[in-house]
Symmetry: C2
């Protein structure tokens, strides 16, 4: 008795025997091989392309003959003429198995194709979006069996695609009726399958076969900016990225001032909600325009944000988040219609998914970082720091993950710094101080050149040198220390003590002059003693938060450190460690994850299983509240100094320490240190 032909699919290696004449697509489906199809095997969508191997002794042990598959047929002929098939390709729905065959499924024909992330090449996103396209042939209405259009569509989806049941809102019902008839009862539908309730929602419908794609927005609603990536839900490709200022800034620069605004102004939260929603809607329109796609094709949105932004996005008063016990109105993820967030530019039936919040100070943005960086899958103990107005800190490995938030304040973002400004063209973002000459050289945003390089003046002439941004001030403070211009307590030395005229007296303390543009009507850019104190406060808070998690975990060192956040991407790990922002770790174990929250949002956008995953992870994270941990204060106070480090930075040994001065938190300590300086003077 002759056996049925054996078929081996690559790269999966799945294999099985099928009767002669079985279409390749059918065989693939029965074996659970990941082979895409939108038209359901009708030979029109071309998603199911495969590459059979012929005439060779396969490593899979199958001898493949030229006639292993049925001959090239008319459907393939027509498709090739109209659109072109790559050489060697067949349509899986047309080619039939006639003998033993080895069939390769190329990456672009896989449903769960993997997309390599640009930034960190080690991580891939597996495509498994919540919303997918299905082409169906719907039964025409029949007076003898008077079911509705929706019910006949439902039946077609059940029999042709195994979709058990669908839901559909009234706007879709009205449209479905027209489109079914326009398409002669052949339509392509976009179905959103929720991971939360097993419901498939009818999001959109097109006559015939729809091929121009589906898109989603991954949106990071920050206190200062709202950033979005527009991704193709089929390929995962980012078609455009764009940002917009968060217009809530007019209600308060930082989170707490917005909470205060809501507290002081009845209805204030509604104003802020309307403002940010309007900005998001505008951004959605702009990004679609930039990518050149119809905004109606945007059918998914994923949001990440800190808890205050989360509440203000949802129209919830954030006041509870500004006071103990920092109670969230809801902590779990939210799936809702995007139009209820007043997103009117995109598809009216688009869905919104908001990642869960970890705690009252540790938001959906931190959850997105956890989704992107996966501390719970890490073999070694990783500390992840997302620096912003608040720092979100995650510590963990496969055993256990902990998270907290630490009130760093806005100094790391250049706020409350004498020459501080946001990271925008003209801002100094990197600085080096020569330990011998004590002279600075620096770079400004908008130019790649250092200030001592040829052409710097020309390149920066139009931009100007306007101030110093967060990463710049961090580097400046660390460089001051490394150049021996500042003591362990953070006190800047006088011109006499340091031997450089860059150190100038500013009232009763000293400042370091980086750049003086007053001759051209520009600013004098300095690091003042107050700036150093602000950075000390911020870095102490960050360090104390990390230490608190380490205490909870019972460790006194971590294996590696990940700096996340757009700002984290610009911090020099070396300077961060000199400053004492983060606990000691080998310098090569301090990496930047770029915009990890944004990446997490993109992952949740492209992969519905990731939503299940992060919801589980967030439930299991140990939440640590810094506000009620006595040890946080201890760590905070202890972290104020900028210690004399000899390892891993041997160059620091050259620093001639100034006489030590005490530095404590709050007015008394500050006053105390001033007194001691006066006494010294």
């Amino acid at each position: 008795m002759t056996q049925e032909p054996l078929v081996v699919f690559t790269p999966s290696g799945k294999r099985g025997r099928f009767p002669k004449g079985t279409p390749v697509l059918t065989a693939a489906r029965q074996l659970g091989v990941d082979l895409d199809s939108v038209c359901g095997g009708r030979g029109i969508c071309s998603k199911c392309q495969v590459t059979p191997s012929y005439g060779e002794f396969s490593k899979h042990g199958v001898i493949v003959r030229e006639d292993a598959l049925s001959e090239w047929n008319k459907v393939e002929e027509r498709y090739d003429q109209k659109r072109g098939l790559k050489p060697g390709r067949r349509l899986g729905c047309q080619a039939q198995i006639m003998g033993d065959a080895v069939i390769d499924v190329p990456p672009e024909s896989q449903v769960h194709r993997q997309v390599v992330r640009k930034a960190a090449a080690t991580r891939v996103i597996e495509m498994d979006p919540a919303t997918r396209l299905y082409m169906v042939d719907v039964a025409e209405p029949d007076m003898h069996e008077p079911s509705g259009d929706l019910q006949r569509l439902e039946r077609a989806l059940r029999t042709q695609w195994d979709v058990p049941a669908i839901r559909c809102d009234q706007t879709m019902l009205a449209k479905l009726q027209k489109v079914l008839r326009k398409g002669g009862f052949r339509v392509t539908v976009a179905l959103h399958k929720s991971h939360a309730d097993e419901v498939a929602r009818l999001v959109e419908v097109w006559p015939g076969l729809h091929e121009s794609g589906l898109y989603g927005l991954a949106i990071d609603v920050g206190s200062t900016t709202v950033a979005a990536h527009l991704a193709d839900l089929d390929t995962g490709e980012v078609k455009a990225s764009s940002g917009i200022m968060n217009p809530q800034i007019r209600f308060g620069e930082d989170l707490m001032s917005r909470v205060s605004y809501a507290m002081m102004n009845p209805g204030g939260e509604a104003e802020m909600t309307a403002a940010v929603r309007d900005a998001i809607d505008t951004l959605a329109g702009e990004i679609a325009k930039e990518a050149g796609i119809d905004p109606q094709l945007i059918v998914e949105t994923v949001f990440v944000c800190n808890p205050v932004m989360h509440h203000l996005l949802l129209g919830i008063d954030p006041v509870e988040l500004g006071q103990a016990p920092f109670a969230l109105a809801t902590s779990e993820s939210i799936s809702m219609p995007a139009r209820e967030l007043d997103l009117h530019t995109i598809n009216p039936r688009a869905r919104a998914y908001i990642l869960p919040c970890i705690a009252g100070h540790v938001g959906a943005d931190a959850a997105a970082v956890a989704l992107s960086e996966e501390p719970g899958k890490s073999e070694d103990l990783v500390l992840i720091v997302d620096v912003g107005t608040n720092a979100e800190i995650i510590l963990g490995d496969r055993d256990r993950v902990l998270a907290c938030s630490s009130p760093t304040g806005p100094a790391f973002e250049g706020a409350q710094i004498s020459s501080g400004q946001r990271a925008a063209p003209g801002a100094i973002d990197a600085i080096r101080i020569d330990p011998e000459t004590k002279e600075p050289r620096f770079r400004v945003i908008g130019s790649d050149k250092w200030s001592d390089e040829v052409g710097f003046a020309e390149e920066t002439a139009a931009i100007g040198i306007t101030g110093i941004c967060g990463s710049g001030i961090i580097e400046a403070v660390a460089e001051l220390r490394m150049a021996g211009l500042m003591d362990e307590s953070g006190l800047i030395g006088s011109a006499e003590a340091t031997g450089t005229s860059r150190c100038v007296a500013e009232g009763r303390t000293n400042a370091y002059l980086i750049h003086d543009a007053t001759a051209e009507g520009g600013p004098r850019i300095m690091v003042t003693q107050g700036d150093v104190r602000a950075i000390q406060l911020a870095k102490s808070a960050l360090y104390a938060g990390a230490r608190l998690l380490m205490d909870e975990r019972g460790v006194d060192r971590v294996d590696r450190v990940v700096l996340a956040g757009a700002f984290g991407a610009h911090i020099s790990p070396k300077h961060a460690m000199v400053l004492g922002m983060i606990p000691d770790a080998p310098l090569d174990k301090v990496t930047s994850a770029g915009n990890a929250a944004g990446t997490g949002a993109r992952i949740a956008l492209c992969n519905v299983a990731a939503r299940v995953e992060i919801e589980r992870v967030v439930r299991e994270i140990t939440k640590v509240e810094t506000a009620i941990a006595p040890r946080f204060q201890d760590h905070f106070v202890a972290a104020n100094a900028i210690p004399h480090k000899t390892d891993p930075f041997p160059e620091l040994a050259r620093i001639a320490p100034l006489p030590p001065v005490a530095f404590n938190v709050g007015g008394e300590g500050e006053e105390g240190s001033r007194r001691r300086r006066r006494r010294k003077a």
Copy 2:
């Protein structure tokens, strides 16, 4: 060994043994006894009142002693002082079982209390609304366990009420936060449990115990009027009923003209949708005002309507319903937020339930009639006719139920009748013609007196006698036949042939003069030959539809006939049968069900299981399409005559038949009959 006390609950008869000290409410819950509670046993809602029996030899075989229950306690004392407990009543959550007891649950303490319908006393509505109140004590926020307010509420509902999971929209989230704190984390929530998806939706929340009730609207969206009942969702009591004109009338008097309007005017359906939604919203506000309740307490709405109204309510183009194959956009029931129907007056989170449609011509109103009249539970074969512009006809018994719609046209509603008008004050709605004198006497809407009674002129002076409405014209035509003024073909005799000057020549045919008010500047109210033809067409369509169902069922008679609809309530069964509107049935087996569609809507409003029931029933109904049934035409033509009946109306034997004339549908037949009359003349 002493046994645990035996407790018997009446009227259920459920019994069980419980440890001494078990609260009665706990025992009831464990036995599945239907005992209400909103506060969950905290002694504040008083819903769990019971009446224990003491000191008597019970028929249940339990000897009950005075100390069978614990002593009257302080909670009961306080409750009695504040609000009063009826003598003999105890609070089930306070009274503990101490010995064998017989405990009666009075009707008002039952969750599933039964409400006797006013109209047809044989039918009761069991209360089981989708939305109910639950008082819960929610855990306060805790920094060590930073879950959201919603999650803590969810946990409280799960542990205190066994509610597995809840959903909540963003408007509710914002409110929940405030109300939880206002109520000191004790709140009453209104939860809507869907029968369709097992989801409990958080509809409303009040601080502490909320006792002022929940309400629902049962809304019948008719082509001419929109009628609503406002019902208490706890007791089922109708607090107010009201109606409003359907403003779509300005787009077309009847359904087909509205379909034409949508067809001829792009966006016309949107205009009509906006108009009817606006009217419903206005009606909701008015009815709440009339009942003196806060419209925010209206949390449920149930809609019944014909398919065209159904589509226009949902914003779906009705054009498909105006042409074969009469395809519905959706046939199944719809559960949705009421605000998506633009109901803004009521609670913003109120739900809307729209009953399923049976077929393209047989709508949710017919489904509601089926729910109210339950043909599928009938032992005998019942024909149910809901007469409107279209007649919906249902035939069935326990074996099988069939339904169809028949295009009666608007004649039964007084339209297309020479002196026709709607059933409004001044319209003749009942008429009798003396078989001897051939003189008429009649009643007009707005007065209870017949025109030959003393005081009629005075009572009608202000109203005027303005025309004849649907039930009036039906009676007039039947009376003409019974008085021998009209032959079997429907031809009105001349003055000479009939011997009465009431019969007057009108062109080439004759008319019967009912009332001449021209002297007072009023109209001449007549029944013209054209009126008789219009009624004949309508009644033939109705009769043919009924006969078609009987053919399908293989019967040639029915056991009983139910006339439904507001109009059905005013038709005299005798006259309907003389006219041949309905198949022969014993006169005492022809009953009126009143507004059965409205009753069906109320049942679906008060009992969520009824929704499951009607959805099943509608799926199982055999749908018959009159438009494609050749026998419908045969029956229609055959039904045009108004036959000479001797049984069951012996008085009809007195009719001296006029010479027979042919009468066929359409111009040719009409012309033919004229020719024959001319030949005769």
